[in-house]
Every structure is written in C-alpha cells, then in structure tokens.
Amino acid sequence: MERSQDLALGLLFAGLGLAAAWQAGSYQGAGGTYPMVLGLGLALCGALVMLRAARSKTDAPRRLVDVPANLVKALAAGVIYVALILPLGFYTASALLMLALPPVLGFRRPLYTAVVAASFVALVWIVFSLVLNKPLPAELWAASRLGG
C-alpha cells in the first residue's frame, strides 16, 4: 500500500518536474535557467522517492482517507458551493452551504443548524459588507434589481 502510493507520488512529481523543465526551455536567459534547474531538481526528488519505494521491503498499510464517504461529501459541497457563489451571490450560496452540508453529514437538528447558519451569515455580512464595505459577488435577487 505504502509502496504503491509512494511509487505514484514519485512518478507524479517526476513528471511535474520534467514538464516544468521542458516548459522552462522556452524562456530566455537566466529567467529560464532557474526554473529549469528547479524542474530537474523536482524530477530528481520524485525519482528518488520512486526508487526508494521500489527497493523498500516493507509495505506498511497507510490509509489515504479515513472516511471516504464523508470526505467526498465535504469536497463535493465545497466545489458546488464555489461554483454557486457567482451565479447565486455570495450570501445566498453561503446560507445554502451552511443549511445543506450538516444534514448531508448526518446532523439531524434542523433548528440548531438554521440558527447557526443565520447568525453566522449575518456576522459575515456585518463584518464584510457593512463595516469593511468589501464588494462580494452580488445576490441573484439583488442583481436583477440593481444591475444596469
């Protein structure tokens, strides 16, 4: 397990390093030499990791993910959230995330969730929009009213 993981990791970094070095070949002067050296260095490190993994006799188990189901849920929620921020607006998307993710993860106290979500989003709104006056992606419902 550990062995094959390290083989893959080393291969990934070696590939990344070679790609970076190859790309650096098109840069002129010292501005290209430096990333070229770094790319080759990264490739060397990756190769070392691979070599060591290939020669190692032990292959201890190492779990990449403890609870895959929950990890996938959380990551997917993150991706959907970020994708929705622009179309829906920052606060709408945030409120949705805060309401939807806890039940998906198995939290069965809707009132508690709603209270925390409402107060947290309100707090963020007070700090960023009211006090700091920072522009955030506009809300869907507000944009149609205000957009020119």
Binding site: G17, L71, F120, K134
Partner: protein, 502 residues
C-alpha cells in the same frame, strides 16, 4: 529622551488609549480568522484614518499589527489552521499541545511570547532604530541572496521523518514561486496565457487552501455531531508553573533578536522570522526530537519571533523612508496624508508623532496580554463547542470570503480548493506542507537577488562570497545546515560511549 516624555503624555490621552485597546482586540480577531490578515485590515482602515488625529490613526495600526500577529496563533493551536502566514510555525508544536489537552497552556505561552517579542522589538525601535537602519544599507542583493539561503536551510527542521519528501516539497514551493512575470526579464513564466497568473500565485490564497482545507476535511470525516463540552475544553487559565517562565527566557531572548534582525531588513517578513526562530530553538534544544510533538518551546519561539518582527519592520520606514513591508508602506502613506515627508528628517519634523507611534507599538504589545488572553479563552474557544459538522461549513465560508476579498476574483477560490485538496493528499503521503510555503516565500527573494547581484558584478559569481557581510552569511548558512548533523553525530557517539562503558 525628552521626546519620549512628550510623546508619552500625548499617547496617554483618551483617543489613542481607546484606539489601542479596540484595535488590539480587532487585530486578534483579524489574525484569528483564516483569510483575513493585518495587511488587508490596515489597508481597509486607512481611508478612515485620513480624517483622524494621526496619533489615534497610528494607534489603530499598531494595535491591529501587533494583535493580529498573536491572533494567528489561536486557530493555529486550536485547529491547526494558521490564521496568518506568520503563524505556520506555531502549528508545529501548538496543535500537538492542544491534542495533548494543553491548548490553554499553548495559548498562554503564545500570548506571553507574542507580548515579549513585541515589547523587545518596540524597545529596539525606540533605542537603536536609526543605528540599525544605517546598517541595513550595507545589505545589497548579494547579502539578500544569502539571507534567503539561510532561510531555506531552516527547511531542515521541517522535513520531519522523510528528508527526501521534505526537499521535494521545498522545490515544489520554489517552482510555484516562479509563476508570473519575471521581474528581471519581463517574461511571463508558467502563466499559460491566464492574465490572473501574471502576478504569480497569491501566497495567502495558497496558504489558506493548503493549511485550512485539510483540517476542515478531516473534521468532516470525523463527523462530530456533539461538540466539546466546556469541561473537555479545559481552557480555564492555567498559571505558569514554577520555573516555567525561566525555562522560556533563553528562547524569548533568541527569538526576539532574530525577529528584530529579520524585521529591520526590508523585504523579509514575520513568516521568515518565525521559521528562523523555531529553527534556532530546535537547534539549541537538548532534545530536538521533541519538537513538532508539542514542545512549548516551539510555540514560544515562533510566536515571539513573529511579533518581534513588527516594530523592527518600522525602523527602515521611520528612519530612512524605505518601507520594508506593506504595513510599513501603509504607515508611511498615512503619515504623508497627514503632511509629513518620510525620510531621515521625519523624526525631527514631528518627534511627538513618531515617538508616540513607537510608544503605541510598545503599549499594544503589552495589551496583548490583557486582550489576547481574554479573547482567546472567552471568545474563540467557544467555537470549539459547536458540533464539528457545523464548523465545517462555517470555516469554508470564512475561507472563501477571506480569499475572495484579497483580489476580488472568483478564480482564486478554485486555486484555494485545488491547493487544499493537494495539501490533504500530500500530508497523508507524508509530504510536509511547510516547505512548500517557505519555498514560495523565499524563492522569489533568492532568485531576484542573486540575479541582481550578478548583473551588478557583471556576471562574476565570486562577488557573492567576497563581500564581508555576504561571506559571514554564507558561512552561517553552511553552519546552519551542518549543525543538526554534527549534533546528531555527537549524541550518537556519546550514546555509544556510554553503552561501551556499561
């Protein structure tokens, strides 16, 4: 020292005092929220200060700056999420301490260390500032190159159990640091025709992803539905044990000196100070292997170092008119808006204002003890009482808002998610994350200064070593790399001897 008396009486008015207290508390909050950082906060508050009494305005800057450097330690200890780039080194030992149930102690040490570092730095600013500032002028590109190398050598303490993977992470960081327009040739590197990459990867965006997302994902995996009770938290104030403060004194002294030294060099920042201090503490320790496993000395070194950077970073700005970092640049621009001309004459133009600012840097460091302790235990620790499943979306929202407001562009959110996912996997594969950030910070500094030095010497690399200061720094770098090795050999020998004698 007359000016200090005058300045003190000017600072001891209601306006500056209230501003310092409020701003220090605000600073702690800002530092503690991942994604928010002092630079952003001070930049946002700057317009407000234009119409204000300058001493009140500077009191706010001082409070936010000092407060936030400590604030960063709170999530670093409680959640292993550094609140600011300068608190990465705090996570090394702070979080393990919290896991051992010593969160309260770690927070207390962070608080005291921050205050000590800040006070030492402010005293340096008041007394030897102008002298030190003149000395920094001798640091040219060749010297800066060696400082970057010196910093890179501290990667040795972060690599953990697997040196190859540690070095690999550092090289990856260096490579990430090359993305964007190359300042010395004007060509775009690794930008793939994306305009937003021309400025390079934003350090804070990568940092928030790399460091904040993995703990959040792990929190989701744990799926904690209950939250900790107050009793489990054990955050009631723990008094220092007898002799405990005495044990921290050498670390505080060392880290203060390192922080001040890094601070006065324009361009080097609190994050480098924290790394170097941590490294020095580990090297000096009789039990270096206990670092990274919850050694209080590690927390003390990192937090003392990053606060000792603060006031010192104002030295070149106030004495030479050269801002060494963004906060110093903001202070200078605030002074200019109030009609002062930065430069060597600044102090003579308005000794009460400049002296007052120095005193405010000192007082806000002291205030950390008062405000920081209370804020950390009373307010922030409360978040840990929320069930983990509710914390997960809350932190995600905070991360996104913090990342978005830096540059106002949605693509940064994807960078953050990608960095975080990569960070999660790399950590599981035993690849340390700190060297990546260190490489991103020091890489551009090392590359640009070495190329500048070679331009000046017309391509002769020998000049990198023959200038007196650069020679000393080069030797120090080599010593830094060899020191842990020598120590390990020595200890092994001692162990062998005792075994042989037995």
């Amino acid at each position: 020292m007359d000016f200090l008396l005058n300045a003190t009486s000017a600072v001891m008015a209601t306006g500056p005092l209230v501003a310092m207290l409020g701003a220090t508390l605000l600073g702690v909050l800002i530092g503690a929220l991942p994604g928010l950082n002092p630079v952003m906060a001070i930049a946002l508050l700057l317009p407000l200060t234009y119409s204000m009494d300058p001493l009140v305005a500077l009191a706010m800057v001082a409070g936010i700056y000092n407060g936030s450097m400590y604030g960063g330690a709170i999530p670093a200890i409680l959640l292993r999420i550094p609140g600011t780039p300068a608190s990465i080194a705090t996570t090394f030992d702070g979080f393990p301490m919290a896991e051992k149930g010593e969160a309260a102690k770690a927070l207390k040490i962070a608080c005291w260390s921050s205050a000590v570092g800040g006070i030492a730095s402010a005293l340096a600013l008041m007394t030897v500032g102008p002298l030190l500032a003149r000395a920094t002028l001798h640091f040219g590109p060749a010297e800066y190159f060696w400082i970057a190398m010196f910093g890179m050598a501290s990667v040795g303490v972060m690599v953990g159990s697997d040196p190859v993977k540690g070095v690999m992470a550092a090289v990856l960081g260096l490579l990430l640091g090359t993305v964007g327009i190359d300042q010395l040739s004007g060509q775009a590197r690794y930008t793939f025709d994306q305009p937003w990459l021309l400025g390079g990867l934003d350090l804070v965006v990568v940092l928030v992803g790399l460091y904040a997302l993995p703990p959040v994902l792990q929190l989701a995996e744990k799926c904690d539905l209950k939250g900790l009770s107050a009793a489990q938290l054990r955050l009631a104030s723990v008094p220092f044990r007898k002799g405990e403060v005495k044990g921290l004194l050498p670390t505080w002294g060392r880290s203060s000196l390192i922080g001040i030294f890094v601070g006065i060099l324009p361009g080097a920042g609190g994050n480098i100070a924290a790394f170097l201090s941590y490294n020095a503490a580990k090297n000096a320790s009789s039990e270096p292997e206990s670092f990274g496993k919850g050694n209080p000395q590690g927390v003390a070194a990192a937090e003392c170092g990053n606060n000792a950077d603060n006031a010192a970073s104002m030295i070149p700005a106030l004495t030479l008119g050269i801002p060494g970092n963004v906060v110093a640049a903001l202070v200078l621009s605030a002074l200019m808006i109030h009609g002062l001309q930065p430069g060597p004459q600044l102090f003579h133009q308005n000794p009460v204002l400049v002296g007052g600012f120095m005193i405010e840097m000192l007082l806000t460091s002291v205030l950390i003890l008062l405000v920081g302790g209370a804020a950390a235990t009373r307010i922030f620790a409360q978040i840990q009482r929320l069930p983990g499943v509710l914390l997960v979306p809350s932190i995600l929202v905070l991360m996104c808002v913090g990342v978005y407001v830096i540059n106002g562009r949605p693509v940064d959110l994807w960078v953050m998610l990608a960095a975080g996912t990569a960070g999660y996997l790399l950590e599981k594969l035993n690849v340390p994350l700190a060297p990546i950030i260190l490489g991103m910070i020091l890489g551009p500094m090392a590359e640009q200064s070495v190329r500048r030095a070679l331009l000046i010497s017309r391509g002769d690399p020998v000049e990198l070593l023959t200038r007196p200061i650069s020679a000393v720094l080069a030797v120090a770098t080599v010593a830094m790399i060899l020191w842990p090795v020598m120590k390990a050999i020595k200890r092994r020998r001692a162990k062998n001897m005792s075994e042989n004698n037995a």
